[in-house]
């Protein structure tokens, strides 16, 4: 079971969260070209290694988080709020480092 260190709630089981999507995707403006939207919505890298993902703490604080996760080992390197301003307001800076072991 993956455990995610929510910056607001602390270390929690992944069953409290839902996976969102690829956090590396930058969604274009609403009136951008069809090409830009097609790329953003349908084209995905399938990386082995560290990826950025959005997760929603849906059964917790309901914050959307950006999670740096290794798709091979499931190791989570960092978790931060997706909202950039809330990230800066957290004590100890925007990023929660994962304590492993």
């Amino acid at each position: 079971m993956i455990r995610i260190n929510c910056p607001f709630c602390g270390m929690r089981d992944h069953s409290e969260f839902t996976y969102g999507s690829d956090a590396a995707v930058r969604y274009p403006d609403l009136d951008a070209s069809a090409d830009d939207w097609t790329k953003a919505v349908f084209e995905r890298e399938n990386l082995d290694g560290v990826v950025l993902e959005t997760w929603h703490h849906v059964h917790g604080c309901r914050m959307w988080l950006i999670v740096e996760r290794d798709t091979i080992t499931h190791e989570i390197h960092a978790v931060r709020p997706a909202h950039p301003e809330w990230a800066t307001l957290l004590p100890g800076g925007p990023t929660t480092k994962e304590p492993r072991s």
Binding site: M1, I2, R3, D13, T18, G20, A23, Y27, D29, L30, D31, A32, S33, A34, W37, T38, A40, V41, F42, T54, H56, V58, R62, M63, W64, H74, P81, A82, H83, P84, E85, W86, R100, S101
Partner: protein
């Protein structure tokens, strides 16, 4: 007479005899026995029948690796098949019996399979019955489909009860710093060292008693001292608890058997508990399992692991044989042989090695064990219990026939396999140690340490040091101070073992089993090799080696070794199959926990649930919600009731509980801008005091959800969603605000539970409201026109929000009020509505009314349809940008022949048709047809059945007719016409009036 209970010795309590039955026969054991030890003490040799050949099988081990003594325990609804008799603790009144046999395990008609066993090789059924010539050449699997049922019936072991499980099960959660798996010398030492460093430790032991190998081999004072030491340090010991799986982040799955050992458990206790344990570090001290050896008829009752005989002697006070032959390739069997001889058996020891030092043989020789070097077992004799053993003698590097030994028990020790399963669950591949002839755990960065025999360390003293080293390592990894210990290396016997997997010799056909439970022989492994199934994964699937309930704990490595030999490579080059959870079987009941029956999913009740029931509602499920389905009056059926309810709404007034609609408060200075981006239609200029129907799309241009949004003030909106998509819509709005548009100053709050909601619909609806609100002028046509919103109070001073919106097509209002006031509000509204000849209506009538109007729900907005498909394209703004606008213009989504929402009428108005029917052109009734029917109802307004659905190109395209609703498995085909979906009051005059 072979096995017998000794007058003294062992850990059983001879003062507490326990009566039990075996195949209906009464027998006696003692407190402390397992079912296997009690059966042995009663000299019951044949306790099972094998999977395929129905060969008699006896007890082969004294632990979870058991592959022979698989029995059925309990009766009726509590019948539990495939129980390992070696791990089932005995209790008063236990009822057990043999399985996979008729009429009994001693005399089994299925044993005839054994006569044909030369044909029943790996893959027999598939080879024989699939593509069986001459019937099937080129004709697929037709005959196979017929035979499969019979073959399935012949295969399989015990049968589970078909009755509902009367027991309950629990899920539990726990946290600790260190989980130690196994409470033998290594586990106890590891737990103690970790606890002494100040860590919170849980010790999980699958046995009923802690101690592991101490229970059979050690000094009991040492065991008790070690247990007391860890308990005084606060270590929590969980017995009858198997760590069956190790997962990411050091999370372990534990299976605790709470009552399986009790005669009359308290009904308040769960049968099993499934623990999710979050440890920071795991120490695996799960020990090692003794391997057996492939020789002729090595599956006969009376062939057993050497160490198991020691356990039966030392722990259960049973001498399992009178004339015993011990066959070994390592030092470990000498102590067993010596203790059996001391207890009075005549023991001969065959050691495959050419000689060992006196220090190894010493004690055994003292007790009169006859030792022969360069000898091994060749073939066991005696179908229902070993009577003799043909031996083999090593000569010039090959095995040759030796003398036959009369005996009633053959003990085998062909090496030890450390239990590396839990590491394998974490993806850590074990490494082959040729010197110790076993797979050892590899180094890993996972927060897991391995100690004792699980790390290949033999001998109690060395295991203790190994455990201390692991405990100290865990402590240091978790930031604690702990002394350093040097872990002993793997091994530790005086004389190296001689790798030995199979005894065979040219010209002799021997049936030698590799996987005893699944009847896989050495010949099956070689057959797999000849037929090209040489990878370890193919070998496993082709022969089913290691796929039985014991997962090949005793024999898998023999299979690997034989494949390595056949391929001419080393064992590590063949590889090892990955062990996956669970280590031992976990009951389905434990996995489901309390999530059964009404607890399978949460139940949501609206605040007027009781009120609805008191007023005669029949309820139905809508997602997690219970909603009124219909309100039958005396003697009414469903169809009579909903037709009456719908008629009453159209002619007078009706009340309907709509609380389950999602309600989201959208607040903040940028709320209007936010909604304008989310909805496809314009919201920026929605005036205060107005509601608007909105449709939101996904990024890819498909419709996500619809609902009305009410502007309560400049910066305060109330959004409603469909019941089905409420949670998804809330998460979507949060995602947009937090990930895409963090600059927008908007807050969203789910208020679905805070507000009760009721629809007041029908020509008299305004009259009802005017009777109920404190100030009737607030709801007259000027103050509250169609799509108007007002915040006011009911007569009892209850705050309410009223929007004049209509799903039914009539003049109608949705009234929201604080949920706690639901009963009072309903009483007030109903008193008024009833006096005007109104009714309460449920989901069925609601459906009728909306189908007549062609209003869509999640049946139409099913995640595949565009806004144009649903006939709502004109509402989408052409001026502003919004989510989904760009991609909804994809060519495939804008084709003229896409399915469009239509109304559906039966050509013959007396006929009925069904939702779910496929709409086809009448001359081409096949495949996906031209569309489908999403909803059907009997329309009281039109007086016949109607429906809505989708048809390619829309109703304009089919004006000439020629369509049928094809419904082959229910009622056949019905000729239909398709029309505009607005079948009643298409101009909407009623709801505006």
């Amino acid at each position: 007479m072979a096995a017998r209970r000794l007058r003294q010795g062992g850990r059983i309590d001879r003062g507490k005899p326990l009566g039990f039955t075996w195949n209906g026969r009464a027998m006696t054991g003692y407190q402390g026995d397992t079912l296997a030890s009690a059966l042995l003490a009663n000299n019951e040799r044949v306790v099972g029948r094998s999977f395929k050949y129905h060969r008699p099988r006896g007890v082969t081990s004294a632990g979870v690796e058991e592959c022979g003594a698989l029995v059925t325990v309990g009766a009726g609804a509590r019948r539990d098949p495939n129980v390992r008799a070696t791990s089932q603790e005995l209790y008063e009144g236990l009822a057990a019996g043999g399985q996979n046999a008729w009429p009994s395990v001693r005399f089994d008609a299925g044993g005839i399979n054994n006569l044909f066993s030369r044909f029943l090789v790996a893959g027999f059924y598939y080879k024989t019955f699939m593509g069986m010539p001459p019937f099937e050449w080129g004709r697929g699997t037709g005959w196979w489909m017929r035979y499969e049922k019979l073959i399935r019936k012949a295969a399989g072991m015990g049968t589970a009860s078909r009755e509902p499980d009367p027991d309950h099960y629990e899920h539990a959660h726990e946290y600790c710093d260190v989980l130690v798996v196994g409470s033998g010398p290594a586990g106890l030492a590891a737990a103690r060292t970790a606890a002494e460093a100040g860590l919170d430790v849980i010790l999980a032991e699958q046995d009923g008693e802690p101690g592991g190998s101490y229970l059979a081999w050690g000094d009991d004072d040492e065991r008790v001292t070690a247990i007391q030491a860890v308990q005084s340090l606060g270590v929590r010991i969980m017995t009858r608890t198997t760590a069956f799986g190790l997962y990411d982040y050091s999370v372990a799955g534990l299976h605790e058997r709470v009552t399986d050992h009790l005669s009359a458990p308290s009904p308040h206790l769960p049968r099993h508990r499934l623990w999710t344990l979050r440890a920071r570090h795991t120490i695996v001290a799960a020990g090692a399992l003794e391997r057996h050896l492939a020789f002729g008829d090595n599956d006969r009752p009376g062939v057993m692991n050497a160490s198991a005989a020691g356990v039966y002697l030392n722990r259960y006070g049973i001498l399992p044989g009178a004339n015993i032959v011990v066959a070994t390739n390592n030092d470990s069997a000498y102590a067993t042989a010596a203790s059996l001889a001391r207890a009075g058996a005549a023991v001969t020891l065959l050691d495959a090695r050419t000689g060992v030092p006196g220090a190894v043989t010493g004690v055994a020789t003292e007790h009169g064990v006859g030792i022969r070097f360069g000898c091994a077992p060749m073939q066991a004799r005696g179908a229902k219990g070993v009577r003799a053993l043909r031996t083999a003698i090593a000569r010039d590097g090959a095995w040759q026939p030796g003398p036959t030994e009369l005996c009633d028990l053959v003990l085998v020790s062909a090496g030890w396999s450390p239990v590396v399963n839990l590491l394998s669950h974490r993806g850590v591949k074990p490494v082959w140690d040729a010197g110790n002839d076993c797979f050892l755990p590899a180094d890993t960065t996972e927060p897991v340490s391995v100690a004792g025999s699980a790390a290949g360390v033999w001998g109690h003293e060395h295991c203790v040091v190994s455990g201390q080293a692991a405990g100290a390592r865990a402590a240091r990894a978790l930031g604690k101070c702990s002394p350093r210990f040097t872990p002993p290396p793997a091994g530790g016997w005086q004389e190296p073992l001689r790798p030995l997997y199979e005894i065979r010799m040219p010209g002799r056909k021997l049936k030698s089993f590799v996987d005893i439970q699944h009847d896989v022989t050495t010949e099956d492994v070689r057959l797999a090799h000849r037929e090209g199934f040489v990878s370890v994964e193919h070998l496993k699937r082709y022969t089913t080696l290691g796929m039985a309930t014991d997962q090949g704990k005793m024999g898998n490595i023999i299979g690997l070794a034989l494949m390595a030999e056949a391929r001419g490579v080393d064992i590590p080059d063949v590889g090892t199959t990955t062990f996956r959870p669970p280590y031992t079987p976990v009951s389905l009941g434990a996995l489901r926990g309390r999530s059964v029956g009404t607890h399978f999913k949460p139940l949501r009740r609206t605040p007027m649930h009781e009120w609805n029931l008191q007023h005669g509602a029949v309820m139905t499920e809508a997602g997690l919600w219970r909603r009124p389905w219909y309100f039958p009056r005396r003697g009414e059926s469903l169809s009579q009731a909903y037709v009456r309810e719908a008629t009453t709404v159209r002619s007078a007034v009706g009340l309907c509980d709509v609380t389950s609609l999602g309600k989201i408060a959208v607040q903040g200075p940028d709320a209007a801008e936010f909604l304008n981006r989310v909805y496809s239609n314009a919201f920026a200029k929605l005036p205060v005091g107005k509601a608007r129907y909105g449709i939101m799309l996904r990024d890819d241009g498909i419709v996500m959800d619809d609902g009305t949004t009410w502007r309560l003030s400049e910066a305060d909106f109330l959004m409603t969603t469909t019941t089905a998509h409420a949670a998804q819509t809330m998460a979507w709005l949060e995602e947009l605000l937090q990930t895409r548009w963090p600059d927008l100053k908007v807050h969203v709050t789910s208020v679905s539970e805070q507000w009760g909601g009721v629809a007041v619909a029908g020509p008299r609806s305004r009259d009802v409201l005017q009777e109920c609100v404190a100030d009737p002028s607030k709801v007259d046509n000027d103050a509250l026109p169609f799509m108007g919103v007002v915040e006011t109070t009911l007569k009892e001073d209850v705050l309410c929000r009223i929007a004049r919106i209509s799903f039914s097509g009539e003049r109608a209002y949705e009234v929201y009020f604080p949920a706690d006031y639901a009963t009072g509000v309903m009483d007030r509204l109903w008193e008024s509505a009833e006096s005007m000849g109104g009714c309460l209506y449920g989901l069925e009538a609601l459906g009728t009314l909306r189908v007549e109007k062609g209003h869509v729900t999640h049946a139409e907005l099913d995640g595949r349809m565009t806004i144009d498909d649903a006939g709502l394209g004109k509402m989408a703004s052409t001026k502003k940008a919004y989510i989904g606008k760009v991609l909804k213009r994809r060519p495939e989504l804008t084709r003229e022949d896409r399915p469009r929402l239509v109304g559906i009428l039966p050509k013959n108005r007396d006929e009925k048709f069904n939702a779910g029917a496929v709409i086809c052109a009448e001359n081409a009734i096949s495949g996906h047809g031209e569309g489908w029917v999403t909803a059907v109802t009997h329309s009281p307004e039109l007086g016949h059945w109607i429906g809505i659905g989708y048809v390619n190109g829309g109703y304009e395209h089919w004006e000439g007719g020629g369509l049928v609703a094809a419904d082959p498995v229910r009622k056949g085909n019905t000729a239909i016409e398709v029309v505009s979906p607005q079948m009643v009051d298409p101009d909407g005059e009623r709801m505006r009036g």
